[in-house]
Structures are given as C-alpha cells and as structure tokens.
C-alpha cells in the first residue's frame, strides 16, 4: 500500500453511503442541541436535515429528527455516539425499522402574473399545497409531504417565478400503536 509519509495509517474506505433517518429523544436542557450538532461536526458526520422541538414540556422532552448519510459502520457509530450522551434517552433508526412515516413542511413563495400564475396555482392544487398568502402578483404555498415530493414541487415552481423557499426539515414517526 502506497501512502505518503505519515504517523497515521491512511486508508481509503469505499463502502457505499446510506441515508438514514434517526429519531432522538432528549432531555430538553440548555446546550443539548449544541451537543448533538457538535458531535456531528466534531466527528465528521453528515447532517442532511435536522428538526428539533420540545414534544412533552412537562417532562422536558424534546425530539430531534436527523437525516444523515454515511457508510453502515458510520451510521452505527452515530447511533452509539448519540446514545451515550448523558441527556439522550433513546435513539431509533427509523430507516432500519422500516415502519415510519416521514414528513416535511415547506413554504414556497412564487411571483408571477398571467399564465404562469394560473399554472402555479394549478400545480399547487395537484400537489395539495395550500395558498397561505397572496398578493396580486404572488403566492405563498404551504406544502406538506415527504422530502422528494417537496423538492419536486419546488422544481416545478422554479420556471414559474420561484422567489424563495423555507423548509422545516424532516419529522418522522413510527407506524402502529407503539411509541418509540
């Protein structure tokens, strides 16, 4: 193996990357989000999307949904590294359980007149996007769905006068009667 002079063993690993959605239940205390983000940046993991909000205020519980990508070994590491953090209750890999629903919300601002305005409205209808703000020359659509549906909608709006987009990131929950 050829490698430059180094005190470290330099190896290329070529395992294919996978994308996983993780649900992380945490104690809602100061700095908990910084810990999670610091873990990802410090250890060189990817964050494709991150959503966080308090879910049970009496118990001070927050739920973080992270979409991440990496080799299977890295994904396993990420889960273990998250799980060993003191304020983390549980980490569930929604992709492995295979029984989860993922949703994202986006607000999409489109500016236009005439045909393109009519077309935007018609496409919004097809995508079940709602109009939540309108002027004579613009709309703001609210659309909910999985990430690929939202991306597709945004792509369609681009030639019709897309101004800006605000996306929430993915939230995920398991199917069936059981909690995580």
């Amino acid at each position: 193996m050829n490698q430059p002079a180094s005190a470290y063993f330099l190896e290329d690993r070529h395992d294919p990357n996978e994308t996983h959605t993780l649900s992380v239940l945490v104690q809602n205390e100061p700095g908990v989000l910084a810990r999670v983000i610091g873990l990802f940046s410090g250890r060189g993991y990817n964050i494709d999307s991150l959503t966080v909000s308090e879910t049970e205020s009496q118990k001070h519980l927050s739920r973080i949904t992270i979409v991440t990508s990496g080799t299977p070994m890295v994904i396993e590491q990420i889960k273990h590294q998250l799980d060993r953090m003191i304020p983390v209750y549980r980490v569930v890999d929604m992709t492995i359980t295979g029984r989860s629903i993922e949703r994202e919300l986006a607000m999409v601002k489109v500016r236009g007149r005439g045909d393109s305005r009519v077309e935007a409205l018609r496409l919004a209808d097809a995508f079940r996007a709602r109009v939540i703000d309108a002027t004579t020359e613009s709309f703001v659509f609210e659309i909910t769905g999985n990430s690929s549906k939202i991306s597709q909608f945004i792509d369609l709006m681009r030639p019709l006068g897309l101004v800006e987009v605000s996306r929430t990131g993915v939230a995920a929950i398991g199917r069936g009667p059981e909690g995580m």
Partner: protein, 616 residues
C-alpha cells in the same frame, strides 16, 4: 445575591467552621443546617463524596470557594503552578487510586488551561470532576473580564458539563457530576459555577438516588447469551489470544483479579495495550508484552495469526491495529466494553458484550468453568515461542554511553522491592518505559495514551504522590516533554512531595526525530533542543535535588541515591542521542510486517518505509 459569602454561614451546621459568625444566624432559615452559600455547598459536596484532596489554582471567580476551603480542614487543597498541572495531577491521583480526581480553577484562562487535561482524561477514560468559576450570571455573554464560554469550550472534551445558574440546583448537579464521572465509562466532567451563585444562599442536600440524570443508565451486566457464545468460541480456539486494555484497570482491582484467573483457567496468551499494563503481571508466564506500533513481535504476531481474540476493555485504536484491513484477518473477535460506541468503531467484531469488565469477566469465568474445558493449544504456544525467540526488544549495549533501554532496565531493577508508581511523558521514553519496565499490579502505571500529552508525567506524579505519600513515585521523562510542565517542581517542593523525575535526556524530541529520520529524509526540522537547561542546576533553583548520570557505570549509584532521597529529585540521565525505538510497525503496514531492531539497518528501514517518501 450580594456579597453574603461566609458571613451567612450558619453556626448550626453539623460541621461548624471555626470562623463562622454566630451573630449572623438569627433568621429561621439559618437554623437549617442545609441552608448555605453555593461556595459552602461545593466544599460540603466534596466532603460528602469522600474527597480528601483537590488540585487547583485560585482566581477572581472562585474566591468564595477558596474562602470556604480556608475555613475547613477536611479537604486538602494542593496549589499547582498552572491549571494544566492541576488537571494532570488529578488524573494521576485518579488513576492510581480508582477514585475521582477533583480540580478547582477559575474562569477564563483557568478554564482554558484545563482543556488539555480534560481532553486527556476523556481520551483515557479518567474520572475527573472539575469545578470552574464563572463570571456572575448577569455578565455572562458580555465579554466580561476573565470570561469564556466554559461549557461551550469544554463540551467536546468532557463526558458531560453543566452551567449552574441557580444555587438551588447546585447540590443536585454536583452529586450528578460525581456520578457521571465515575460510572459507566469514566470520564471528566465540568461544573461551571458563576460567582453570584457561589455567594447566593440556597438549600443543600446530601447525595441521593434521584440526583442522577434520568436518561443516563450505563450498562454494567453483560448479556448472558452473548457470554455463552463467547465461551463457546474460547473453548473451541486453537490459536487464541487475550487482548486487554485500560478498561480492565478502570473497572477496579476485581477486574484484574478475574483477568488473571481467566488466563490461568484457559491457559491463553495475553497481551495488553499501553493503558492496560499491570492488569496481568509482566512476570506472568502467559504474558506476551505490549502490542501495537511499538509492541513486541510475539504480541503482534499472535494477534495477527490468532483464530479467537478476546478483547477486554480496549478499543482497537489506530496505534494498536496497524492497517485495519489486514488486522488479524483470520480471527473471530469477542469484544467486552462498557461503551457501546467502542464496538465496531474501527474493527468489526463477532461477539460484542456490553458491560463492566469485572462483571462480564466474572460471568464469563463462571460459564467457562461450568461448561468448557481448557483447550489444548500446545502447538500455538510452540509457534509463539519461535516469535519470542526473535528477541524483538534487543538493543546494542555500550560501556561508553547509556542506552535509554538500559537506563529503564536499571531503573526497574533498582526499584524492585519498593512500592513503586510510574508516570511518563510522551515519546520514545514512554515506549521504552512500557517495553522495559515490568508492571506487576494495576494502578501503578500512569501515562497519556489517547491524547499523547507531553508534560503529563510530572504533574501526574504529583497527584500520585499526594495519594500515596510513602510510595516511590517516578516520572520517566524526556528532556523535551518535561519542560512543558516543569513549573510544577515548585508544587512538589511546597507540598513536600518527593517525586523523582527521571529524565532520559537525548537532547532531541526523540520520537519526532525518529519519524523525521524514517519518513522525512532525516531532515531534523526543529526537533533538536539547542538550549537545554542544566537540569541539575534547575533542581537546585527549585529547591529540590539534582542528580546526573553520564556513563553506564554512573547509573547504579545515582539510582540508589535517587531512591534514598526523601525529597523531589530531577535526575538528568544522559542517553544515546540517536537511538530509535524498535520494534515498530511502519505506517500502512500490518502486524506481521514489523521492523525488528536487528533488521533495522538503514537499507531495511528505507525499504520498509518505501511506501512513503524515499529515504535519503
């Protein structure tokens, strides 16, 4: 808030302080012994957790705590000369006793100076409780004098940390801090206490069960089914090896006892990481020596060719494995670790067992004794004997100059029969110490493994000596490392800690020079110490004793004297300047591609490192 401080200290306290002011105890609340200032709570919590010694350095943001320390006698404070020294001293204290090390430093630079020690403790899983002062809460975020974002800065270098904004949370946080630091995989924690919280009066409570973070539940007991699988593998092994690490030491004396019993019951060969030395005695007949980059040939070959590997409390780190895709290719691997994130991090294992080393080893032994027989591995031992015969730690002796390996061997001989603790700095001397000093017991070897902190050994020796005042505590040092925390000799003199600093002085940063020779065309860029201090004179200036050995014939006498002197000693041992540390796994190579000292001619070395830059 305000400047209440010790003046509100209640006289009804169960442990009244000599200077408490009785006239200040008129209000109802002051009759409650658990009403006290935040500063008093900190000292009380230390006492409640059995802390006898803390290491620290005062400053503006911790003065209320220092005022409390002044007024009691249960906790002894060791004043260091730099906060990093306090951190490493606490590490040495912790590692040699199994108890948490406690540090008290001020805000801003006090906290930032602790970062190296905290990171070191995190990498080597050492329980530390570090209390930092912080500017008053209303000034946090204002760039106040000596303010820094302590919890932000120390978040990635602690197991957990807290900023306490309310004095009534302080007791719970302190108790939790001790719990988190010492349970599961041990590690450093920081409790950041703003000055107004130290002054404020609130309610203290002694440690109780519900102080523990509800989401923190480290696993101690191993899964019975996995243990059964492990036993089946061990019993079927033809070429087994046990590879143990610092986790066995951290788990406590019981773990080492059980490990020894396991080796006895199975008859397996055993090797260990740098951090695990002493768990199995170096004089034991199944001992292969340390493994890894500078491990013995027999240890690495045994690892490479084994069919069943039992890893206990080690983490397959990159100095151990060599090239990971060629690491022990034909073996089934069992991995016992308390930290699930250690499993499958670098090397994929077949039977992971999450749990405390002592607990799992106990269960494993029980099952093994009940269900398995000692496998016949005579042929394996014969193979190992061939590797041993290569004598991978050999070196050319000299009558003119002291070889560093020889110096360590002599030191080891001289300390036999003494109650000895060894610390080291980082570099060649550290590897030679690991190779040539035989450790018979756990908790006797304090070294910076994961982080590789030069300057660790001297203050760590202080901490060890504080914990074991009558023992012989020696820092095996290098001339470069030792200068990084040399100021702590002053602490040793002040507190009459008779530490011995045994400096293998080759006038180089030896390991850097070795790598430059092997990998960078022998261009010795900034690895030579042009202006070394005269260590003997330096010792004199510090008020301790300076000794020197220049020729091999000087060693015996000087060592004898060093051990006899009941004062701190700086021992300047002049050794061969250009000696390299072998054997060695060259970068990018596997365990079975070691470079042995007898083979390490210039040509062979060049060939071994040919994957890198060509040697000149």
């Amino acid at each position: 808030m305000g400047l209440s401080g010790p003046f509100l200290f209640p006289e009804t306290d169960t442990k009244p302080l000599a200077t408490a002011h009785p006239e200040q105890t008129m209000t109802d609340k002051s009759n409650d012994p658990n009403q006290m200032t935040g500063a008093a709570m900190i000292v009380r919590a230390l006492i409640d957790h059995g802390v006898q010694h803390i290491f620290g350095y005062p400053g503006g943001a911790v003065l209320p705590i220092y005022d409390e320390i002044f007024q009691q006698s249960e906790v002894e404070h060791i004043l260091v000369r730099h906060e990093q020294g306090a951190g490493h001293a606490a590490e040495g204290y912790a590692r040699s006793t199994g108890k948490p090390g406690v540090v008290l430093v001020t805000s801003g630079p006090g906290a930032t100076n602790m970062v190296t020690a905290l990171t070191d403790a995190l990498m080597d899983s050492i329980p530390l409780v570090c209390i930092t002062g912080q500017v008053p809460t209303h000034l946090i975020g204002n760039d106040a004098f000596q303010e820094c974002d302590t919890v932000g800065i120390t978040r990635p270098c602690t197991k957990h940390n807290w900023l306490v904004r309310d004095v009534n949370d302080l007791a719970k946080v302190l108790h939790e801090a001790f719990y988190v630091a010492t349970t599961g995989r041990p590690g450093p924690v920081v409790v950041d206490v703003p000055k107004d919280v130290q002054f404020a009066v609130g309610t203290y409570h002694p440690p109780r069960k519900d102080d523990v973070h509800v989401s923190y539940t480290p696993r101690v007991k191993g899964d019975a089914q996995q243990i059964r699988k492990a036993v089946a593998l061990l019993a079927s092994a033809k070429r087994p090896v046990i590879y143990s690490g610092g986790g066995v030491i951290n788990s406590g004396l019981e773990a080492s006892k059980l490990l020894r019993e396991l080796v006895e019951v199975t008859g397996f060969p055993i090797t260990s990481t740098l951090m695990g030395l002493g768990a199995y005695p170096a004089s034991g007949k199944n001992w292969l020596g340390m493994l890894g980059m500078h491990g013995t040939y027999e240890a690495n070959m045994t690892m490479h060719d084994c069919d069943v590997m039992l890893c206990v409390g080690a983490r397959f780190d990159d100095r151990i494995t060599g090239r990971t895709d060629a690491f022990s290719p034909g073996s089934k691997k069992i991995h016992i670790d308390i930290d699930p994130s250690s499993i499958n991090k670098n090397i994929r294992v077949d039977v992971p067992i999450i749990g405390d080393a002592a607990n799992v080893l106990g269960d494993l032994l029980q099952v093994f004794k009940a269900e398995a027989k000692k496998p016949d591995i005579k042929a394996w031992w014969q193979e190992i004997a061939k590797w041993r015969a290569r004598n991978s730690l050999s070196y050319k002796k000299s009558n003119e100059i002291i070889l560093p390996q020889y110096a360590i061997q002599k030191l080891f001989e001289a300390t036999r029969g003494h109650d000895t603790y060894i610390t080291t700095e980082v570099g060649q001397h550290q590897m030679w110490a690991a190779q040539f000093f035989g450790f018979e017991e756990p908790h006797r070897w304090m070294t910076s493994g994961g982080l590789g902190t030069m300057g660790y050994g001297l203050p760590a020796a202080l901490g060890v000596q504080v914990a074991h005042p009558d023992s012989l505590v020696i820092d095996i040092a290098g001339d470069a490392s030792v200068q990084m925390t040399m100021q702590e000799m002053s602490t040793a003199v002040q507190f009459e800690l008779p530490i011995k600093i045994f400096i293998l002085n080759n006038q180089y940063m030896g390991m850097v020079r070795q790598w430059q020779q092997l990998l960078h065309g022998n261009r010795l860029s900034h690895s030579y110490s042009e202006a070394l201090p005269d260590f003997v004179k330096l010792a004199d200036a510090f008020g301790c004793v300076g000794l020197q050995a220049i020729k091999p014939s000087d060693l015996d006498g000087a060592l004898k004297e060093m051990i006899k002197i009941k004062r701190p000693v700086l021992f300047d041992c002049r050794v061969a300047a250009l000696e390299n540390c072998f054997p060695m796994i060259p970068s990018g190579k596997a365990h079975n591609e070691m470079l042995l000292p007898v083979e390490a001619t210039d040509e062979a070395t060049a060939a071994a490192f040919a994957g890198g830059k060509a040697l000149v």
